[in-house]
């Protein structure tokens, strides 16, 4: 196997292929990542979402806009509004702004009517009044899907695209350790992933910029606190990423059920839950009780 490691969107990537990736393929991957970042990064002054936040009103819709907004709509419905792409202002209010000021002030809820404010029409992405769109809950998963699809057009055979916690596997199955959120030297279980994607959420470096991206409850603008780490396996990394986020909120397990996504999550008190029929091996699960 050949492994290509690099940094992009503020996180470490590894692309493992059966044969070395030709230079043209690497260039194509780099272009894809750069274009995605230029569209969606809320940590860059020159991104499209930054322009919309400054009042640009309408911009040519980035390629992923339709799928991302559709998935956010499903997340928002399932979690009763806890997941919301306009949570960006709430994040900034808590100090997770582009300057990482960490000067937290009173939390502000994200606008509940985000679907009225963010529209996709005629190839244009429009916000009714200046608003910061944040696709952090699913953006990295989406990117993993696109990179995996792109790489597969250049090389045949086994493939792993791993963006530090969000990974897609084609061909030979990969055994993935589920890192203990309280102790990076330990794993709470192992999940064998075959022709699917696994996304983990737990991390305080889960997104781009410097990766200080925190999932807030959009209804309050403030944090919720119960779940320490989540893992989800789905056919696409975007959906796995979406469920990994939704599992922090009421309704996440139901959406996973509707989408047929398997999951494991660790609560902040050390307990571990998993989905019905979950394929992961959770250490200590013999002591489990079925609720």
């Amino acid at each position: 196997m050949s492994v290509w490691r690099f940094e992009a969107i503020g996180t470490s990537w590894e692309i493992e292929t059966s044969a070395p990736l030709p230079a043209v393929a690497r260039s194509a991957v780099e272009e894809l990542l750069a274009a995605f970042d230029a569209a969606w990064s809320r940590f860059r002054d020159d991104s499209l979402v930054a322009a919309l936040a400054r009042g640009a009103g309408s911009v040519p819709a980035p390629r992923d806009a339709a799928d991302l907004l559709e998935t956010y709509a499903a997340l928002s419905d399932a979690t009763d509004g806890a997941v919301n792409p306009l949570v960006g202002a709430s994040l900034e209010r808590l100090g997770y702004d582009t300057a990482y000021s960490f000067a937290a002030s009173v939390p502000v809820p994200a606008p509940a009517d985000w679907r009225e404010r963010v529209r996709l029409d005629d190839g244009h992405l429009t916000v009714a009044e200046p608003a910061l769109i944040d696709v952090g809950a699913i953006g990295k998963g989406r990117l993993v899907d696109r990179v995996a699809a792109l790489v597969a057009t250049h090389v045949d055979g086994d493939l792993v695209v791993d963006a530090s916690g969000d990974l897609a596997v084609r061909g030979r199955p990969v055994r993935v350790g589920l890192e203990h959120p309280f102790d990076p030297t330990r794993a709470i279980g192992v999940w064998t992933v075959a022709d699917a994607a696994l996304c983990a959420s737990a991390t305080n470096r889960r997104s781009w910029g410097d990766g200080l991206h925190h999932v807030l409850d959009a209804r309050t603008g403030g944090p919720v606190r119960a779940v320490a780490a989540t893992w989800a396996v789905a056919p696409t990394a975007m959906r796995a990423d979406a469920i990994a986020t939704a599992l922090f909120f009421d309704g996440g397990a139901r959406l996973a059920h509707e989408w047929g996504v398997q999951w494991v999550r660790m609560l902040t008190d050390g307990r571990v839950e998993w989905s019905p029929g979950c394929g992961a091996e959770v250490f200590g699960a013999t002591a489990s009780v079925e609720p």
């Binding site: 530090s164 916690g165 990969v174 055994r175 993935v176 350790g177 589920l178 890192e179 203990h180 959120p181 309280f182 102790d183 990076p184 030297t185 330990r186 794993a187 709470i188 279980g189 983990a200 959420s201 737990a202 991390t203 305080n204 889960r206 991206h213 925190h214 999932v215 409850d217 403030g222 944090p223 919720v224 606190r225 119960a226 779940v227 320490a228 780490a229 893992w231 922090f248 009421d250 996440g252 397990a253 996973a256 059920h257 660790m266 008190d269 050390g270 307990r271 571990v272 839950e273 998993w274 989905s275 019905p276 029929g277 959770v282 200590g284 699960a285 002591a287 489990s288 079925e290 609720p291």
Partner: protein, 141 residues
């Protein structure tokens, strides 16, 4: 169906490795107070300090309580105050199972090619331990 109380103690084993790296020593036979902490002396007793760490949604606070005897850590408790994420009515239908306080296994002992996740509390645990270290050192001085 019984539920654990919201305040619960995280198992010691998962965290002792972190303590060992901080200059305080774990209660393993081969450890000694001076091994990592130089000539520093600590007053025996039970110390508590708060530390915080970031989860994807928030900054969590944990309370770390350490008991020192003869300069060695003989007990560590870590308390958090998590809230339930899921309404009770959802649990039976969409949750397949639950295990209490999973301590896990050392990753070095596993045959895995990748690891997914990211440690959360070690920073907060380190903060709390450092405060306790200073306090116990001052108490000894």
């Amino acid at each position: 169906m019984t539920r654990a109380p919201h305040r619960s103690v995280i198992r010691l084993g998962a965290l002792m490795g972190v303590a060992g790296a901080l200059g305080l020593t774990a209660c393993t036979p081969e450890s000694s107070a001076g091994a990592a902490g130089g000539s520093e002396e600590f007053a025996d007793g039970t110390y508590s300090a708060e530390g915080s760490y970031s989860t994807p949604e928030t900054v969590e606070t944990i309370l770390v309580t350490v008991t020192l005897a003869d300069g060695l850590i003989t007990d560590v408790d870590v308390e958090g105050s998590p809230q339930r994420p899921e309404s009770e009515q959802f649990q039976g239908e969409f949750i397949g199972g639950i295990a209490d306080e999973v301590v896990g296994r050392p990753i070095d002992d596993l045959v895995v090619s990748r690891v997914a996740g990211s440690s959360l509390t070690s920073g907060g645990f380190n903060q709390a331990i450092e405060r306790i270290r200073v306090e116990a050192s001052e108490a000894a001085g």
